[in-house]
Symmetry: C2
Subunit: 543 residues, 2 copies
């Protein structure tokens, strides 16, 4: 027997219609690629999104067609989140920091019919355009006055001109909520990128799951301004472009300028209360804040994911700057993978224990199911000690990759293979111990490279640390610790190993420490261990 409830699909377009109707005067503030700030309201954004929808239909886009964007966090990119998906077409957000070959593969594989570019990504696209086989039009995301004087791109249209030719009225259609809304390729470090295809339903369910973060510590829920530092091509900027309109919160977009002074100008000047991004942003920001003596007056929470923040960073942010770094686990295939909130009942914990909890990768979030398994697929206990391959299930988790390419995302029981190793505590805290491919296998046991890195990062002279396995005749692998030092700091291998001794099991202690000038980072700003392993593949351990 069915309930007697209105049968209305969950549609992404409903979020901007809601914002425009009831929060029409609320601002969206975006830094343009050129560097100035663009301000307008949800009502104005909605009008332009409707123009965009009309323009896409005029260009022949049909439901399911892919429209690519190679763009930073700007107001036009925000418009595409609704103007494209709202018509039933699929927004394909592309990471401009990928290599040319990857970009060519991704765009051709997605069969993007249109490709939207901005002033920062234009040179990238010009370089690869001859190899793109499906693009019918390029669209430059700017006003007519800022169109490039010269470009090698054929048929480069002007975004604002396209919109100007259209009426600002479009009836957002309702259709199956399971329809594809957004396509996002994982920037794998091996093999071809794989396409993750979100649906309207999954995007909105995850947005509803994230919405409570915005209320934490906010009297009446009244003081919310959201700024995603995470790029919009990376997991929908953690749903902020959907959540802010849903809540009627002011939305701030940092463009492509991630210099700390520019980020601070927005975070403080626009009275941001909630932001999100990888810890790298904050390593740089806190250094800059300390140097410049700046403080925050409104910022309360930064959601963090992608890699483990050092304890000292979490402590500094909270103690010195009043910002809680709240970790959530997620990946392109599983947005909304864990709750960034602390466990109910944990409010009165002393500072140290709160930080302990904050160093976990969030905790179990309703709607997800979790398990950890060993190499044979046997389920391991949730005792906070056993660590195994981390598997999840949820109505917002990928079931397969686009066109079935890239292998199965799922194990035989239908759980997503996350590629992470984790422990799960009895009270639902998830602690990533390593990437499955990064764990160091020493004498048949696992050594967590992340744990070594966390401990090493606690040393004041260490900027970043990376542990990798080096082949060893007796133990199969032994850990090498690769370290970058903070500016002006001095540190020896012996000093660092002495510091680490007693903080990890003695047999986990790295066999050697190598100091380098700069860590290799992936296109998404994560430590690129593959490159380190290549660099040190012939490394000879002393013992």
């Amino acid at each position: 027997m069915q309930g007697l409830i209105m049968d209305m699909p969950l549609m992404i377009s409903a979020a901007i219609r809601h914002a425009a109707t009831f929060h029409g005067d609320t601002e969206v503030v975006a830094r343009t690629i050129e560097g100035d700030l663009h301000r307008y309201t949800y009502a104005e954004a909605h009008a332009r999104m409707q123009q965009l929808a009309n323009a896409l239909i005029r260009l022949g886009m049909k439901p399911g067609d892919r429209v690519g964007s190679l763009a930073w966090n700007t107001h036009r990119h925000f418009e595409m989140f609704y103007g494209v998906s709202g018509t039933g077409a699929v927004l394909h957000t592309i990471n401009p920091r990928l290599f040319a070959d990857q970009l060519v593969y991704i765009i051709n594989h997605a069969e993007d019919r249109l490709l939207f570019v901005d002033a920062a990504t234009l040179p990238v696209v010009e370089a690869i355009a001859p190899r793109l086989t499906t693009i019918e039009h390029y669209v430059m995301m700017c006003e007519p006055a800022r169109m490039p004087a010269k470009t090698s791109l054929p048929k480069l249209l002007c975004y604002d001109e396209l919109l100007a030719a259209e009426a600002p009225h479009y009836d957002w259609p309702e259709f199956d909520e399971r329809s594809a809304s957004t396509l996002c390729y994982t920037s794998g470090t091996t093999g071809n990128p794989k396409g993750v295809l979100y649906s309207h339903r999954s995007a909105l369910l995850v947005a509803l799951q994230i919405a409570p973060m915005a209320s934490i510590g906010v009297p009446n829920g009244a003081g919310v301004t959201m700024m995603p530092m995470a790029p919009m091509f990376h997991g929908n900027a953690w749903q902020f472009p959907y959540v802010a309109p849903m809540l009627g919160a002011k939305l701030v977009l940092p463009g492509r300028n991630y210099e700390p002074d520019k980020l601070y100008e927005l975070l403080e000047g626009e009275r941001v209360t909630l932001t999100c991004g990888v810890p790298t942003f904050w390593l740089i920001l806190t250094e800059w804040l300390q140097r410049s003596g700046k403080k925050f007056s409104t910022l309360r929470i930064s959601l963090s994911s992608g890699s483990a923040p050092p304890r000292s960073l979490v402590e500094t942010m909270e103690r010195d700057f009043g910002v809680q770094l709240m970790q959530a686990w997620g990946m392109t295939e599983a947005l909304g993978g864990s709750a960034a909130t602390m466990k109910p009942g944990a409010a009165d914990l002393p500072f140290d224990q709160r930080i302990d909890q904050r160093l976990k990768s969030g905790r179990a979030l309703f709607g997800n199911r979790y398990r950890i398994v060993d190499d044979e697929g046997k389920e391991l206990p949730h005792d906070g000690v056993a660590f195994g391959h981390f598997r999840v299930k949820a109505p917002w988790v990928s079931s397969a990759y686009f066109k079935g390419e890239g292998g199965s995302a799922l194990d035989e029981q239908g759980w997503l293979k996350t590629g992470d190793l984790a422990t799960i505590s009895p009270d639902g805290y998830i602690a990533l111990t390593d990437r499955s491919k990064d764990v160091i296998k020493s004498g048949g046991e696992w050594i967590s490279s992340i744990e070594l890195e966390n401990v090493a990062s606690g040393h004041p002279a260490v900027l970043q640390a990376a542990a990798i396995g080096i082949a060893h005749p007796k133990w199969q692998e032994r850990p090498l610790l690769v370290v970058t030092k903070r500016e002006g700091a001095s540190l020896t291998e012996k000093e660092l190993l002495d510091y680490m001794r007693g903080k990890v099991a003695s047999w986990w202690l790295p066999d050697a420490v190598e100091f380098i000038d700069q860590m290799p980072l992936t296109g998404t700003g994560k430590l690129w261990k593959l490159k380190l392993r290549e660099r040190f593949k012939d490394y000879q351990l002393k013992a």
Copy 2:
């Protein structure tokens, strides 16, 4: 084109499985009907829910079958929310304060196969049992030692005995999320009660919408304990029985004892942070708090709905007791009808203006669509002034009544006819001006009875006020104000009208004031204007 996302239905059972798995030690504290406190954990509750599911199946319950409960807010009733709906059967929560004829009609109309009763509702059921035509078994919600020595009920089973005979393991099935989960009849003041049939999908979507309330003002989201004062037979106790397990929050249930000292004992003793209920609870509670000199140390928010709280109550609660009374609009047919949070950006408002916003019936909540229309169905502007018939649409709003009886809930365009009159401000605040049937029509214009009551209630001597229309030869209707005075207070008609003068349009001023000893209340604790209109139907206005 469909997204590539796991196709998992939204199931109510997922909430308790989540709580038992990751918050297994978190407490559920409930006052029994007998008055003592019962404490157990989500893990223990989950085990009993699985036993209940097995017992229901043994009793022959099949998906879609209705299982009735005439019960207060106890841990066994909480168990039924999952044990019944989780199997695919439909939990029919029945208001024990209804009249015998209504109860008989409702239970026979629902075709309940089982009827669960507690020590408080047993006499009610004994009185009507001979007229119930579909009940196969009655179940007494108690342990064996508390079974009644003597009862007229045939085949009265013991709840705890039923459970004890079953294994505490049951695999919650997954099925269509649009399946019926809960049946709840509206306690209309005219005509037969009408059955509203919720679905798993609608219950969980509304729960996700309410979850952010729990985080407001709470550091890290860590300090949440929820206690529904609203009865569980009334709109699922505003989804608290679903939201608390979803969040892993401690759940406190007040049984049937609503004496202020008993409520305070739970609210303060169990460190409740969030509660909900009609304002009547708080009128009584604040009086008691003031008399006894008690304060709250953890309670932050009380969600309020059902009727308009007087301004003085909202002010007192916040200023003297640190509790924000946050109003949301909703009705049995439309749970989750508005957001109880304030508008983002309103955090820095001065006290008076915050209270102004708090006196609205919440604000537009994402997922709902709203309109106000005049008597001819013409849409009226959202200017905060025009008031019209309030209509809503959402994927959690009723589309029809059970078995199609009770007429259509919807207007010709498919919007729910709420029976309320409201204004909508440009920034999405909804202000109820009246019930459509209570508005006083004077000389072709509408006078809001609620507005008159709010102004009158501001007088310190007024406990409750009710404005009703009295037939008038010239003006069609004119307002009569019916008032109960606070204990020991003195007040005359002239004093009250003088007080109101200037606070409402002069032609809205009541033609007369009548003082009575006690307001008639409906089974759900609301002012029963129908009874007042009957009592004063021959009232002669002086002029």
